[in-house]
């Protein structure tokens, strides 16, 4: 019987200890750290319990806008002229990277060959093939110019087309 009383007392003691510990812990106020540099994203709604809140959409929008502006600015810094001229960014970067003296010389030679063919006034199969071969050597700006020269000359009749099929 005394054994039963001892066990009961021990269980009661443990139970009381656990309860008091829980009470002390929950009585302390929750830790709240205020960061002045971080905008308040979550606004506590009055009348709601602490677990419920609504997102501050203005602040969220401002954050997204800021991120988007930074990304766009970064892209424009990489290639400002390509985005304005309509030339593809990859092509512009490629042209800049390939501007070695050898490449520049190759491009000059290609341009000269195209000019010489234009001066002949006749556009046949041979000229078309040579033009296509030289066109890939040119940088995007030169290519645009060459295409414009040939096309305008064909359309206004200063270049006589003698190709078996399309001139380009």
């Amino acid at each position: 019987m005394s054994k039963l009383i001892a066990i009961g007392a021990a269980v009661l003691g443990i139970g009381l200890g656990a309860w008091s510990g829980y009470q002390v812990g929950s009585a302390q106020s929750p830790v709240s750290v205020a960061h002045a540099d971080i905008p308040t994203l979550v606004r506590r709604a009055a009348g709601f319990s602490a677990g419920r809140a609504e997102t501050d959409s203005d602040v969220l929008r401002a954050l997204i806008r800021e991120e988007m502006t930074a990304v766009i600015a970064q892209q424009d810094r990489r290639s400002p002229e390509a985005s304005s001229s309509g030339i593809s960014r990859a092509a512009a970067v490629s042209a800049a990277e390939d501007a070695s003296p050898e490449k520049v010389a190759q491009r000059r030679a290609a341009q000269e060959q195209i000019d010489a063919m234009m001066a002949q006034g006749v556009w046949g199969n041979e000229q078309r093939l040579t033009f296509q071969q030289q066109l890939v050597v040119l940088d995007p700006e030169q290519r645009e110019r060459a295409l414009q020269q040939i096309t305008a000359a064909i359309n206004n009749g200063t270049l006589q087309v003698g190709t078996d099929g399309p001139p380009l």
């Binding site: 309509g86 030339i87 593809s88 990859a90 092509a91 490629s94 296509q132 066109l135 890939v136 995007p140 290519r143 645009e144 295409l147 414009q148 040939i150 096309t151 305008a152 064909i154 359309n155 087309v161 099929g165 399309p166 001139p167 380009l168």
Partner: protein, 131 residues
């Protein structure tokens, strides 16, 4: 002998029978219009290639790429009188490139060029009546 001649004649007659086509058909022979501000051209593949009586007319488009990006697209046409019109674009958008890629034997092509030769309009119509 007489029987053989009859059979041969019948076989020849059958072989020479034209293939029967049904449905609506319209020819669009290649026409080229030029002005000081550019020009335009129109025509269908089938009409140019199979229904025309001349050996001059053609129409079509080409798309060129260096396998990194699209270099240019170009369209060209020549009418029965040997008048050629062509246009090009190095800045064609996705729709234009897609239109050029969709050209096939049922296609009728229309394109317009400005005075510098740049394509200002491309239209591809794929209809059964072009066949």
């Amino acid at each position: 002998m007489k029987k053989l001649v009859i059979i041969a004649s019948a076989a020849a007659a059958l072989a020479l029978q034209p293939v029967a086509f049904a449905g609506y058909h319209a020819n669009s022979f290649v026409s080229v219009y030029k002005s000081s501000s550019g020009g335009s051209a129109y025509g269908s593949m089938q009409s140019a290639r199979y229904y025309s009586s001349d050996s001059s007319q053609y129409i079509g488009c080409l798309s060129a790429s260096d396998l990194v990006s699209s270099i240019y697209i170009t369209c060209a046409a020549r009418n029965a009188q040997n008048v050629v019109l062509t246009c090009y674009s190095t800045t064609a958008n996705g729709q234009a490139r897609q239109a050029v890629a969709s050209v096939n034997t049922t296609s009728a092509v229309y394109f317009a060029a400005d005075s510098s030769g740049k394509c200002t309009y491309i239209s591809i119509g794929n209809y059964s009546y072009n066949l």
